[in-house]
């Protein structure tokens, strides 16, 4: 079977290569119905019954309180705000992802729950308000104190650990959505033919002779 037949075999053969690329790109019309805006219901082919069951169970549980989720939402948007290229963490439903992943990977639960409470207690002591209720400049002041691991002040180390985890989960949650993949510019997951590094790129890096 040649490559064209291969594509036909997976139901893609009637499309031209360009159309294929477009069809597989995030954000295109073909897949618009699977956007981040909708509840994800994975295709069940090839999944084990216990896997499907486990996801259902996790989806039915609620871990974070509304207050905790509100805090996560503000923090997420401070970490990844909307800019000219793409939306914010909450636009990409990152808080919903974090709610799911801590149920899926329980090791994240205590660092997240404890870290959120640590943050609120800090804010209550400083501003007499929780993080959510603090003013925007106060929130940024607080975040500034825990966002830079190499210049952390005494007593803030636990906050740095929490913020590192929050930053990690936010980045992973954002860049694995359709919005995030389009932003980062991942161009694969599209049937085609790999013929090596494009000539202009080889030239740019002076790698023409290394083959």
């Amino acid at each position: 079977m040649n490559r064209r037949d291969s594509l036909k075999a997976i139901g893609l053969g009637t499309l031209s290569a360009t159309m294929l690329l477009d069809a597989c790109k995030p954000g295109s019309k073909k897949q618009a119905e699977d956007t981040n805006d909708e509840k994800i219901t994975p295709d069940e082919a090839g999944r084990l019954p216990e896997e499907i069951e486990r996801d259902k169970k996790l989806n039915a549980e609620k871990f974070f309180t509304d207050h905790e989720l509100a805090t996560i939402t503000i923090l997420g948007d401070i970490i990844i705000p909307k800019d000219a290229k793409s939306g914010s963490a909450s636009d990409a439903k990152v808080p919903e992802f974090i709610e799911f992943i801590v149920k899926d990977i329980p090791d994240h639960q205590t660092p997240m729950r404890g870290g959120l409470r640590w943050l609120d207690v800090q804010c209550l002591n400083r501003y007499d308000k929780t993080f959510v209720d603090a003013s925007s400049p106060q929130q940024l002041e607080m975040v500034n104190d825990i966002a830079y691991p190499n210049k952390v002040k005494p007593g803030m180390q636990q906050g740095v650990s929490f913020f590192n985890l929050m930053r990690n989960l936010t980045a992973t949650g954002f860049f694995t959505t359709k919005m995030g993949i389009e932003d980062i510019g991942y161009a694969g997951n599209s049937p085609g033919k790999w013929t090596g590094v494009p000539p202009d790129v080889l030239k740019h890096y002076g790698m023409e002779d290394v083959v």
């Binding site: 079977m1 040649n2 490559r3 037949d5 291969s6 594509l7 075999a9 997976i10 995030p26 699977d34 994800i40 994975p42 295709d43 082919a45 084990l48 896997e51 996801d55 989806n59 970490i79 990844i80 705000p81 800019d83 992802f97 992943i101 899926d104 990977i105 966002a147 830079y148 691991p149 190499n150 913020f163 930053r167 990690n168 980045a171 992973t172 949650g173 860049f175 694995t176 359709k178 993949i181 932003d183 980062i184 510019g185 991942y186 161009a187 694969g188 997951n189 599209s190 049937p191 085609g192 790999w194 013929t195 090596g196 590094v197 790129v201 080889l202 890096y205 790698m207 290394v210 083959v211």
Partner: protein, 579 residues
């Protein structure tokens, strides 16, 4: 009425094969095509990559974005299973460590493997003369070469002819070209004096001559998910499903084999199994029993098959079954290339196997450890998944920002968001995979106290690395540091003695072999050189259990070649009516 009965089948098959991975699949393929009536028992569900593969799914189609919570290698991985299976425990002895990966499904672990397809070399089969440390195989490279050749033609492997002494060339399809990061690796390795050559993988970079059932690769880089168009090698797609089409091979999925049955004379008569579908007990009969259940499971089955004729377990009068267990060594490193910040985007998924690798070509006389390892390399603009963007605070303080000034590590906001874009595609990794010396005192045995949920006694492992493997891992780490330095990369320090130089625990590399080894002397081996039991002439083992001593090469291509050789031996013996 009793709820549980033993249901005995009246049909007698020519052969029963236990397991459907590389070894079982190849034996089934050859025997079914030769007209034998074959029954294959698989402990997991039926799996056809054409229908069941997660190929081309996006990370957001998994609520955990492909994290490894359900499946050890992530939601999209092609293996049902992992190092722990619900209700199927194993134990370890004397606080030693062994991790046993099992994939319960048609095709077994071949659905997700790295497709790195290396032949063992002449010194891997006969290594005793080098340092006196290992026993020789009863066969040579030249004995196996014709079968490697046939496997290459039948299944397909890409690569380049290199004429290296202990890295035999095959019959190769055109290889995929290196990605940009891999060019940096090649260049850096050359400066560091480390040999790097084109990868060798069982992926159809071109249509396979004479095969209409398998498609040519369309370069999604997702071999680990298994391939819907059969563009890479899985036993399910390339061996078992084609064998079923002959009408001569029947698969019973979800059949967990309990023991091999023998008659008073000690000959195998069939097997007993429990069906995971109805939880009933079954017995099936055959003229031949062929085990391809994996090195661990085949040893377990033999040790659990005790009878008056085989009081020590089947095929175990020598007492070697379970012994000489060995897995490849593994140690790894990685970093990023600041030269590639803000790189141009294009699709560089390539193939899902290695594009380049570093074979072992060095002289151990100048080194403090025996035998060698190869290095697998990768990197580039991969598909984001769970873990993407992790630990940016360890990277973004190490290089100048767009304005040319250094910035504080960590951070948040628009500038951090931009960093993820800037760093995308700059990272790379390298992993050593080395030869561990097979030793009698690294073994698995039946745990006298523990059964799995089917009531089958489980394996207990006893495994320790020696100084040889630790020193090999140190050499890997030193080599990686040297290569990364010459690449102009940014990277962390080498793993030190506190972690045994990053040496992975036994079993983590998933190349375990050696538990039912072959040999000419029935006192020191369980199988003869055709993988036929010395003690039971109609019993064969076709997985990685017969390996006497693994090379640094990944085991699958050798499993395929040996299983084909065994199956052809069976056919030749049937003509002579010996089995």
């Amino acid at each position: 009425m009793n709820d549980i009965q033993i249901k005995k089948s009246s049909q007698t098959y020519d052969a029963i094969i236990v397991g459907s991975g590389a070894g079982g699949g190849m034996a089934g393929y050859v025997l079914a095509h030769a007209g034998l009536k074959v029954l294959m028992l698989e402990a997991g569900p039926f799996f056809d990559p054409a229908k069941d593969s997660m190929q081309l799914k996006w990370p957001y189609e998994s609520p955990r974005r492909g994290a490894g919570t359900n499946r050890a290698f992530g939601d999209f991985d092609g293996a049902y299973g992992g190092w722990q299976l619900e209700g199927e425990p194993y134990t370890t002895k004397d606080k030693t460590e062994f991790h046993w990966f099992r994939a319960r499904m048609l095709g077994g672990r071949t659905n997700h493997w790295g497709r790195i397809s290396l032949r063992m070399g002449p010194d891997d089969f006969k290594g005793h003369h080098i340092d006196g440390l290992t026993d020789d195989w009863p066969i040579t490279y030249d004995d196996v070469k014709p079968f490697y050749d046939k496997v290459d033609r039948m299944i397909g492997v890409y690569g380049t002819v290199e004429n290296l002494p202990n890295e035999p060339d095959g019959i190769f399809l055109p290889p995929p070209k290196p990605r940009l990061n891999e060019l940096y690796i090649k260049k850096g390795a050359a400066k560091a004096g480390v040999k790097v050559i084109t990868g060798r993988g069982s992926v159809l970079t071109e249509a396979l001559p004479g095969n209409k059932d398998r498609g040519a690769c369309f370069y999604c880089g997702q071999c680990g998910r298994s391939c819907k168009i059969y563009g890479d090698f899985s036993s399910s797609s390339c061996l078992v499903i084609p064998a079923m089409k002959t009408g001569n091979l029947k698969v019973i999925p979800n059949a967990m084999v309990r023991e091999v049955l023998t008659d008073a004379s000690g000959q195998a008569t069939g097997v007993s199994y429990i069906s995971k579908d109805d939880m009933q007990e079954y017995q099936v009969k055959a003229g031949l029993v062929i085990l391809g259940a994996s090195a661990g499971e085949s040893a377990r089955l033999l040790l659990n098959s005790k009878s008056a004729a085989h009081p020590n377990g089947l095929a175990n009068s020598s007492g070697v079954v379970g012994k000489y267990l060995h897995d490849s060594t593994g140690s790894s490193a990685g970093g990023f290339l600041p030269q590639l910040m803000d790189r141009k985007r294009y699709n560089e998924d390539g193939v899902g196997s290695v594009h380049i690798y570093g074979p072992w070509v060095y002289d151990n006389k100048k080194l403090d450890f025996p035998r060698g390892y190869h290095i697998e390399f990768g990197g580039g603009m991969g598909m984001p998944g769970y873990g993407f963007g992790w630990d940016m605070q360890k990277m973004n303080g190490a290089v100048p920002d767009r304005d040319g000034k250094m910035k504080e590590a960590g951070g948040f906001g628009a500038s951090l968001k931009d960093d993820y874009r800037r760093f995308y595609g700059t990272s790379f990794g390298m992993a050593g995979r080395g030869m561990a010396i097979a030793r009698e005192d690294n073994y698995c045995e039946i745990d006298p106290n523990v059964v799995d949920k089917y009531g089958i006694p489980v394996l207990r492992f006893n495994y320790k690395w020696s100084d040889y493997e630790v020193k090999q891992a140190k050499h890997m780490q030193d080599t990686f540091q040297h290569i990364m330095h010459e690449m102009g990369a940014i990277y962390g320090p080498a793993h030190g003695p506190e972690t045994n130089y990053g040496l992975e625990a036994p079993g983590r590399i998933i190349h375990e072999v050696g538990t039912v080894r072959m040999g000419d002397d029935p006192k020191k081996s369980a199988l003869n050189k055709y993988c036929q039991a010395h003690d039971c002439k109609n019993l064969f083992v076709v997985d990685a259990a017969p390996f006497v001593q693994q090379g640094d090469k990944n085991a699958t291509w050798t499993i395929l070649a040996l299983s084909m050789r065994t199956a052809e031996y069976i056919l030749s013996q049937r003509k002579k009516t010996n089995v």
